[in-house]
Symmetry: C3
Subunit: 426 residues, 3 copies
């Protein structure tokens, strides 16, 4: 449980909040590149850490992220004209480049240099892996660009999606590092999905009371879920948590890998990113079709909003008959919305003063502690984990070990991204 | 008029509010039994006195009312699986019985006894008269179960309904004890309904300026509306107000009896219960059909919500032509929504500092005083009225008396529930 | 830029706010007369300066504006019966005349004179020019009735409309006195409208960087937009701003004149009035048809609400292809919604601490100053401008002047309303 003060500390990310300062030290995945499909396309409203921003792609194809509102009298530049390498306010023709620099104020003599004094808040952007990433922290602290394995794969090897989730980012992320719910909430999927059923891991997974071991890592932490396998052996499923908001889910056999990131829009909404990729082969048509129709970790979203079709306004289309049958353990269809429905049901920001944590929550406890320490350390000049590229070059894995071997060390090489070599899954 | 402080005192019923403490000393009608139609049916979200609760019927048919949120990390148990005599959280399988007692925490060794330490807030429930009643007060203060006459009648003799009303409970109840509005707001019904028209009472009721006498009673108070009848005689209509939220409406002739209760959902919403019953005969098909289609005291509601079809979002489908004609005095159809539309039009909690009360408001004045005194008395250990069963065994009545006889004493036997004997109505 | 304190000072108009006190000193255009189409028609809810009011037309045709809520227990008199020269509350029959005076409390003996003590807050109304005007200030300060030229024209010569705008009144009005946006935001209209294209003014208007001169006037101020015409000549477009909320837009040639008024509903909503009139001829069928279908300064509104069909919920039906083509500079159709979309995009009350004003904003700067000074003066007993009838008898104009002549003096007679004589336009 957390005091009200601690709960506020780890959940609030607006300008000036310590956790907001911490999260702004990382490159932030904000948009799908396809949201800005071509030069001079329509600007896109973006909300990040409570800031109202606008993303554009200019005539030269450069992506910019800047304050949504014109510096002149505050109208939304979403109505702006994206033309000739800049966004022009339709009110009086003020024009900004992708860096937020004002390059023209038509009413003022050009020789006055007035426009050079006008600059919108703007953040550097990089486009990679089908994602527009922004850096929203202090300019002198900009870290290296993320080096996740899937960013360097051919596009055919990955499928990336985002959706709007209606709760605080931490609440969503805690669901992601809480591996113990899988055997319950997602048990319908484990029992029915043909790909899952075919793996030994899925069989071992029938043990609904795994033990969890959590160890510190350079990236953040490793979460080992231990189940009994054959006598004298344990079946391990190892999740990577990479600071500040990434998880990598352990694979079943040679199935594709999956990961998530939870990025605050504001304190009561976040973007949930889902990354599916295979290190050594293209995703199959069957896999892609499944994901596009809301299967796997993925979700069908309403056009233009990234809000799931299944959402709280329709009670997530809960089906009590399918709940009874066990097809969907909670009656909600799909792994992603099974998670989101429960996470959102806690309210926009859950009050952690009333929770009762148990041993299977140790990853959650440690993540909160690491985040709080990192935010506190920042104030003292200590750089947080997860900034360096080597901390990104990791993998989740599942494997079987003799009972006396430590999961994090015995198979250390399986927990590292090895280009061209397939991941380790059971 | 009430000061802001007094207005707050009588209207606020959340945890810790004096009026909330008072109301929690009574058995509370919360759900229709039909909302929990069978063992292991879907849980139902309930809001009462600002508390978010969940009602279930378990495998054995027992009804439970408990905190909506799991004690573990706070997800809504509305998504839970109601199975094997308990509600199981779909997140990690924690299971609760109808008393809110946790009976299983799968991740913890059973021998640890951990689950026994986990108990959700829960309230005892009793099912009677087609209603699920709960007691939400201190365990050692639980009163006898309500003994209203209609609770012991065969189901054929009664028709009971609830609807969501979008205003504070007291505002709605004040409308119920304000008999003086009947000759105005409901005059369209009095003049056109064939059952009403056939009674002498309806004729006398043409006198639009009755005098009101209010006297204390063991239940709460008796409200006598006096009109001139034949020379030397008065026509009396006597309403029972039973602490804390019940009214019984005086009958016309041998027509069925009607009553109401107003139960706070939160401070800006309440449940309005309507009870129609006949002490000595089944309700007729005609009566039942009328009520089911929104006639009498009743209302058509939207499926699943108990919100009236006619509501503030559609301006109560006011019909100015029917208002002009007098068919509906305010232009709104139906007695129930005529009342609710005006009560809701005052705003969620009316500011009583600006009202101008007149002699016909004496019942309202006295009810506020009795409620305030009862809440104050509670703090000093004084038990409020309306807890004891004999205070429930009362009836409303209408009769004619010689001008010199006191309405509350001259016909005292008519104001008592007498099983098997028809009520007294003119 | 304005400090938070100053911004609050000029934008807040509720009871007791200094700017609210100032605005209440003027006659307020509140309803179209057609909203009260006949004697004893349905009452109309009106929100003005944050006050919830009700407008009625009684049996004698008199218009009244009074508190929406009954003095008895506070139900909305919108449900009232408008009959026999008064509005009767449907709850208990209390009746009010157009002055808010209670004329009947049925429950009380007439001889008690009780009802005479009951009076709703009410404001005097006058119907003129197709508009219901109210005076909401101190009774002893009531000014002469407005004497705008168009009020005295035959109805055939004018077209008047109102719409609901979802932002603070000042924000909307600042858009109205900001003539410099016309060459940008409305450039699509200037280039395509056949009436505009035919005038020399429209040609000169191609100069997108006019200079603005603002001079004090007895009415408020004169805003002169100066553009180069033939050598040695200037093309002037002169806007009248009449305290506290009127603008008159300079004409193109002999086209009809246009004006606006922005009246606060509350601090986050206003009514935008649009007045189109011709001083010397009836408006043509073509002009009327254009305006009725949302052309010119006008807008199509949703039935019953005066909310534009194009509004923020549908992103003003922005069309990026027509934005690209320049047909609509911002992609939003119609002059009125081009303005409203941007003004609303600033948020309900824009934070003026972050603006960067330039020379073309001098009218806005002066208007704020005049309003603030007028509100401050009021407290010292100084009467504000715009109360006297001669300050209303003005006209906007456009003309060509030798370069050395001052726009406000050289053609002073063109800036005065001259009945029967056409306005001056280029």
């Amino acid at each position: 449980m957390l005091s009200a003060e601690d709960n506020s500390y780890v959940t609030k990310t607006g300008p000036g909040a310590p956790m907001g300062d911490l999260l702004r030290r990382y490159w932030v995945p904000l948009l799908l590149a396809e949201e800005l499909p071509e030069p001079d396309c329509a600007p896109v409203r973006v909300k990040a850490f409570g800031e109202r921003l606008l993303a554009i792609r200019d005539t030269s194809g450069r992506v910019g992220l800047m304050d949504e509102f014109c510096a002149h009298r505050g109208v939304s530049l979403w109505f702006g004209r994206n033309e000739d390498n800049g966004l022009r306010c339709p009110y009086h023709g003020w024009k900004y480049d992708v860096n937020g620099q004002c390059v023209e104020v038509p009413s003022e003599p050009a020789e006055s240099g007035y426009c050079q004094k006008i600059k919108l808040k703007a953040y550097p952007c990089v486009e990679k892996g089908g994602i527009v990433w922004a850096y929203m922290g202090p300019a002198d602290k900009q870290p290296d660009f993320p080096a996740f394995e899937w960013l360097d794969l051919p596009p055919s090897h990955r499928y990336i999606a985002k959706r709007w989730q209606e709760c605080n980012w931490l609440q969503a992320m805690e669901g992601g590092i809480d591996s113990s719910h899988v055997s319950w909430l997602h048990s319908g999927e484990l029992h029915t999905d043909p790909l899952h059923r075919a793996t030994k891991g899925a069989v071992y997974n029938g043990d609904k009371t795994p033990k969890f071991e959590v160890v510190d890592s350079a990236s953040g932490m490793l979460i080992g879920a231990r189940r009994n396998a054959e006598p004298g052996e344990y079946y391990w499923r190892v999740t990577q948590w990479i600071m500040p908001w990434y998880t990598m889910i352990p694979p079943y056999g040679e199935n594709a890998l999956n990961g998530h990131a939870w990025v605050p829009m504001d304190d009561e909404n976040c973007i949930t990113w889902s990354f599916t990729y295979h290190p050594t082969r293209p995703l199959s048509e069957h896999e892609l079709a499944t994901m596009r129709s809301g299967g796997g970790m993925h979700v069908e979203v309403l056009p233009g909003t990234y809000r799931p079709v299944i959402n709280k306004d329709n009670d997530y289309l809960i089906d009590r008959a399918l709940q009874k049958s066990g097809r969907y353990y909670s009656g909600v269809a799909g792994i992603a919305m099974q998670d989101a429905s429960l996470q959102e049901s806690m309210g926009p920001i859950v009050d952690r003063a009333h929770e009762n944590l148990v041993s299977t929550d140790n990853a959650i406890i440690m993540a909160r502690m690491l985040l709080k320490k990192a935010a506190q350390g920042l104030a003292r000049g200590v750089e947080p984990r997860g900034l360096k590229q080597e901390t990104h070059r990791v993998r989740s894995a599942s494997f079987i070990l003799p009972a006396d071997q430590p999961f994090a060390k015995a198979r250390a090489e399986d927990l590292v991204a090895r280009p061209g070599i397939i991941h380790t899954g059971v």
